[in-house]
């Protein structure tokens, strides 16, 4: 068993990526509970989402069990994730660019998943890579179609986004250097990917590389050309960079929607929320305005004599 530096760094990339995502997730999930700030329509409101209604439309709402629908929430979630509904509805010209970009990324992720699945089946299922069985036929076409479409539309989308961001004055003046850098980073990685694809038109090297990763070096690594090596290195750097950049907005988006805009959970007596609130009001205020008693707790500041 022998592992190349590239393979070792591939494992390292995955570990750093996962740790990075966990750190990001922890950062947001460990923040204190905030005041309610929901915005309607809220999709888990059963039977009311279509007009934006809420349980607050009922008299004595606290006496009844809230009717919520997970399916409603998931429908809205997927409409936004898979179709970027709001951009489609409110800024169609941008949607024609951002939709292929994001869909292309999903396809590339599916492509990775197919490579991974294939490696597990081939290596652990002892399937000969050259045999003509149905799985090999399926994976051949699936990887080819998904990978080809994925890389092409993501590349076109990235170029489109760069052009749009630079040519549209309302976007250009708001865009900072790092935001161009992010798009250029993706573009360079994709371009090296396209060149690598030229040398590996049916992704057989990619498949073998993944099997060698899965086998921890027991499966021999194919001969990799310089372009492929450069591409893999860039891809690794990109994966490492994602959790620490704005590209991790897929995590942020979960919190903005589920934990802010759709968080309409009422604070009922003796609930977890009430317990958390009781802890938070003991924090000491650092503000300096004359109407606030600095270094006194929230509770001391809002109850009784605060004149």
């Amino acid at each position: 068993m022998s592992l190349s530096i590239l393979q070792i760094s591939s494992y390292g990339t995955l570990i750093i990526f996962i740790i990075g995502i966990i750190i990001r997730w922890k950062k947001w999930s460990s923040m204190p509970i905030h005041l309610r700030w929901e915005l309607y329509p809220v999709p888990h409101e059963a039977g009311r989402f279509h007009y934006g209604g809420s349980y607050l439309e009922d008299i004595d709402w606290w006496n009844y069990e809230r009717k919520t629908t997970l399916i409603g929430e998931l429908k809205e979630l997927f409409a936004e994730m898979l179709f970027i509904k709001r951009v489609y509805k409110y800024k169609r010209q941008l949607w024609w660019i951002t939709y292929p970009f994001h869909t292309g990324i999903y396809l590339i992720l599916i492509w990775f998943a197919l490579l991974f699945l294939n490696s597990v089946i081939v290596y652990y299922g002892n399937v000969a890579i050259s045999s003509n069985i149905l799985w090999n036929q399926f994976i051949y076409y699936a990887v080819l179609i998904v990978g080809s479409i994925g890389i092409i539309i993501t590349t076109l989308g990235t170029i489109g986004l760069l052009i749009k961001r630079y040519s549209d004055p309302s976007m250009r003046k708001y865009t900072t250097g790092i935001e161009y850098f992010n798009l250029l980073f993706i573009l360079v990685t994709l371009i090296t990917g396209i060149i690598a694809w030229y040398y590996d038109p049916d992704f057989s090297i990619a498949k073998t590389y993944m099997i060698s990763l899965i086998s921890f070096g027991n499966y021999s690594l194919p001969q990799l050309g310089n372009v492929i090596v450069v591409h893999i290195i860039l891809l690794q750097l990109l994966w490492i960079y994602i959790p620490f950049s704005k590209m991790s907005h897929f995590i942020g988006k979960y919190f903005t929607y589920h934990k802010v805009l759709w968080d309409d959970t009422p604070n009922l007596r003796k609930s977890d929320i009430e317990t958390k609130v009781k802890e938070l009001v003991t924090l000491k205020l650092p503000w300096n305005a004359p109407h606030i008693k600095k270094n006194k707790t929230w509770l001391e500041n809002v109850k009784g004599d605060y004149e």
């Binding site: 947001w28 923040m31 204190p32 509970i33 905030h34 005041l35 309610r36 700030w37 929901e38 915005l39 309607y40 329509p41 409101e45 009311r48 007009y51 934006g52 209604g53 809420s54 607050l56 439309e57 009922d58 004595d60 606290w62 509904k85 709001r86 409110y90 800024k91 941008l94 309302s170 976007m171 003046k173 708001y174 865009t175 900072t176 250097g177 790092i178 704005k246 907005h249 942020g252 903005t256 929607y257 802010v260 604070n267 009922l268 929320i273 009430e274 009781k278 009001v281 924090l283 000491k284 205020l285 503000w287 300096n288 305005a289 004359p290 109407h291 500041n301 809002v302 109850k303 605060y306």
Partner: protein
């Protein structure tokens, strides 16, 4: 003035430049209004601020003044102190201790905006102004984001403008940013369109908090004459408990007998009632018919209720919800303490949008233990009265065109959409919706405190820019009958919206010219009561 050069495209960093005024509003640039306001001379031109205002107040943004306290730094030393205070405030805003109340939503919105500008077209102020860059929902958010990145993050400190973008923190930036935080009504329509869920309305809210909680800077009508006065005297209107009781006597002795034909005893401080009803105290002074209508309906429906004459207990307003969490919590706690003292089963909020949101939703995670008293809107109760025929109604008494304004706080921010519509469909044969409506409505232009901010030239900006989209909606809703003499009624179940409509209709002379009126929902229900000898609503 940058805007005099028509080709000049305002950039984020221009906020720090030493120029007299960033933009200059002109009637010809504004969003056109529909007929009959499409003709010349139907509205006055935008005015310039007076010279003496320029010296004392902040006119460096657009020439209009929202913050009516003098706080402009005069020397370099004062500028330095201002910058230090601002940065300290920003640190507090980003701390758990200072801002657990909104820390997570704020940081999410600062970190993840893609600057795609999908939200711009949703903003009535940006569109009404003729798309002035400084009013774009992302403009003030981006200024704050750049300051935060540049001055408070390690990456910004090391990599500078590559990470933060171009920005300079000086007195101009701070004073303009403060004014700019009062050019958004916090309607949050922009947030509805954001694919990532970024909330530019929230960023505006947080900016206001920074200025208030750290530097004591807020418009007088919100702070000094608003929440401070309410906590001290009992009401932001300046109404004392005695004055409140006098008004109630007037409603009992004169207003109700005259309108209703019989006397009603309005319960005050009745312990053990089911409901503590809290109105916006502005109703008692400006529209006493509305609390009178509630008294009539609750009496007819046999509801057990009371008003409170306790300090703060007769005024539902809670201006803190727009600019300062501590003030918000102080007023909310007073409301809850009074309800506890009266031993009522629940608090019901009258027709006041921000009071609805403040006490029912926002303060929900402030009130705990015995102060966590059930609170709800009056609108489902009004619908229940109509639906169950607890009063005898004849819809033909409302034989005039009616449209409904959806107060942002009650509808978009609380999801109370149908009860008020159900009432109108039942009692107003000539009811028609505005477009768009419901949770996608446009703000009246008076949201976030603008309705009560009457200093210097701010009312002109409010009527001309902030209310322009709503005025357009009203004209379109009544377009078919606009030239007829028939009275037209904009139903606005919110005190601040009503105040805004009063000023808007007056500014555009729409009542005088086209007989357009405004009023509450309870008033319309009472107007339809069979037993009333003469109309409750008089045009």
């Amino acid at each position: 003035m940058i805007s005099k050069n028509k080709k000049y495209d305002i950039k984020i960093e221009d906020i720090s430049k030493p120029i007299t005024q960033m933009i200059n509003l002109s009637l010809k640039d504004l969003m056109p209004l529909p007929p009959p306001y499409d003709k010349p001379d139907m509205e006055p031109e935008c005015t310039e601020p007076k010279t003496e205002w320029r010296e004392k107040y902040i006119t460096e943004l657009d020439g209009y003044i929202a913050i009516d306290i003098p706080w402009k730094p005069k020397t370099k030393e004062e500028e330095k102190i201002l910058i230090e205070k601002f940065l300290n405030g920003l640190r507090n805003l980003l701390s758990q201790e200072g801002n657990w109340t909104f820390l997570q939503p704020l940081l999410l919105s600062l970190d993840y905006c893609a600057k795609c500008q999908t939200c711009s077209e949703a903003c009535p102020i940006y569109i009404s102004s003729g798309k002035k860059e400084i009013y774009r929902p992302t403009y003030r958010a981006e200024v704050l984001r750049r300051i935060y990145k540049r001055y408070l993050t390690p990456s910004g400190k090391i990599l500078g403008k590559f990470v933060s973008g171009e920005i300079k923190l000086n007195a101009n930036t701070i004073i303009r940013l403060a004014e700019l935080s009062y050019r958004c009504t916090l309607c949050r329509r922009c947030t509805q369109t954001c694919p990532i869920g970024i909330d530019n309305g929230l960023i505006t809210h947080e900016l206001r908090k920074l200025f208030s909680s750290e530097m004591g800077i807020a418009p007088k009508p919100l702070h000094e004459l608003g929440s401070v006065q309410q906590l001290k005297i009992g009401s932001s209107t300046g109404m004392s408990p005695e004055a409140f009781k006098d008004i109630i006597r007037f409603i009992e002795d004169e207003l109700i007998p005259e309108k209703y034909g019989k006397r009603i005893k309005i319960p005050i401080d009745e312990k053990g009632a089911d409901i503590l009803l809290i109105h916006n105290a502005g109703e008692f002074l400006s529209w006493p018919e509305n609390p009178a209508a509630f008294a009539i309906l609750f009496e007819e429906a046999g509801i057990s209720w009371t008003l409170s004459s306790d300090l703060v207990g007769y005024d539902a307003v809670n201006y803190g919800v727009w600019y300062d969490d501590v003030q918000l919590a102080r007023v909310a706690i007073k409301h809850a303490e009074i309800a506890r003292k009266l031993d009522v089963k629940k608090i019901v909020i009258g027709e006041c949008g921000h009071a609805h949101k403040a006490l029912t939703v926002i303060a929900d995670r402030v009130l705990h233990d015995e102060l966590n008293i059930p609170r709800e809107s009056c609108l489902p109760i009004l619908w229940d009265i109509v639906r169950r025929r607890k009063v005898n109604l004849d819809p033909n008494k409302n034989n005039f065109p009616v449209t409904l304004h959806d107060p942002c706080n009650i509808v978009r921010l609380m999801g109370i959409v149908q009860p008020q519509r159900n009432v109108l469909k039942e009692i107003c044969p000539y009811f028609r919706e505005m477009e768009p409506n419901g949770v996608y409505n446009y703000c009246c232009g008076g949201g976030s405190g603008f309705a009560i901010m009457q200093s210097m030239n701010f009312p002109e900006w409010r009527s001309k820019i902030a209310s322009r989209m709503k005025f357009k909606q009203i004209l379109l809703a009544f377009q078919k009958e606009i030239l007829s003499n028939k009275p037209k009624y904009v139903c606005a179940p919110c005190s601040n919206c009503k105040g805004t409509f009063r000023d808007m209709l007056n500014y555009y002379k729409a009542t005088e010219r086209y007989n357009i009126h405004y009023g509450g929902l309870a008033d319309l229900i009472v107007n339809a009561m069979v037993d009333l000898k003469k109309p409750f609503i008089e045009f």
